[in-house]
Subunit: 119 residues, 2 copies
DNA sequence: ATCGTCCATCGTCGAACAACGATCGTGAAC
DNA sequence: GTTCACGATCGTTGTTCGACGATGGACGAT
């Protein structure tokens, strides 16, 4: 799945690129049902995953290695957290050659916010 | 299950009483740290607990028995969920004779919202 | 073709969670 | 006093989570 841009020079880790949508509007999403909201809240209910989300928000793009470097966790553990966030619809990842670039999914985040705010 | 009518004249359920604060303003709370936010999100990350929160929001007050009557769960399980929500600071409970009256903790909910919205 | 890097996945282990029935304490009613 | 209803807590069971090392696939470079 996923397509790649593939215009990038071999310069690796950080650089000002955006992987996904350039931060679309986060509005007008209806609050989700209890099952969906519970799943999203569970994905967020871990300090490491909150740290990842914040990291992605601040840097606006990260490959897996960047996240691993920032957290005191093993690579496999970080990859697992990224998978959980991705399956919850809170982040997006696109394969970029040998690495994977992640960014926050603004729509998913908006859905979560809508659900929480509707409580 | 469980007796609701018949013998007992213990008419209890609804009545217009408020147990806690009369819905104070929910503003100006700072977003919590990752640990606190994760704990609150975990408390919310269950469909039954979301249902309880919604129930308390709509009815504005509930004794435990009311909640048990609305959910397809055993009394002990509901009591457990109520405990988790209370320890997370999302609801308040005050003992009222032989029963316990619960209501949402607007401040706690505001903290949760602030944390989620700050993502 | 071979090698090295990056990262997702697998397998495992201990800890935490979810649900339940059973029990106990407490307050109201008799 | 006794009795009853209410609800929190205990003890158990099965499931899920969180972390890790190890494995393997994909890609770029040599």
């Amino acid at each position: 799945m996923i397509a790649a841009s593939a215009t990038a020079p071999t310069n690796s880790s950080n650089s000002s690129e955006h992987c996904c949508v350039p931060t679309p509007v986060d509005t007008l999403v209806p609050p989700p049902d209890h099952e969906t909201l519970a799943a999203m809240a569970k994905a967020v209910a871990h300090p490491a995953r909150l740290a990842i989300l914040q990291l992605l928000t601040n840097r606006e793009t990260c490959v897996t290695g960047d996240v691993v470097a920032e957290l005191p966790l093993a690579q496999s553990t970080v990859s697992e957290h990224l998978r959980i966030l991705r399956e919850a619809g809170l982040i997006q990842g696109e394969i970029e050659g040998p690495r994977t670039r992640y960014c926050v999914d603004a729509t998913g985040l908006a859905i979560l916010r809508a659900g929480i705010n509707a409580l």
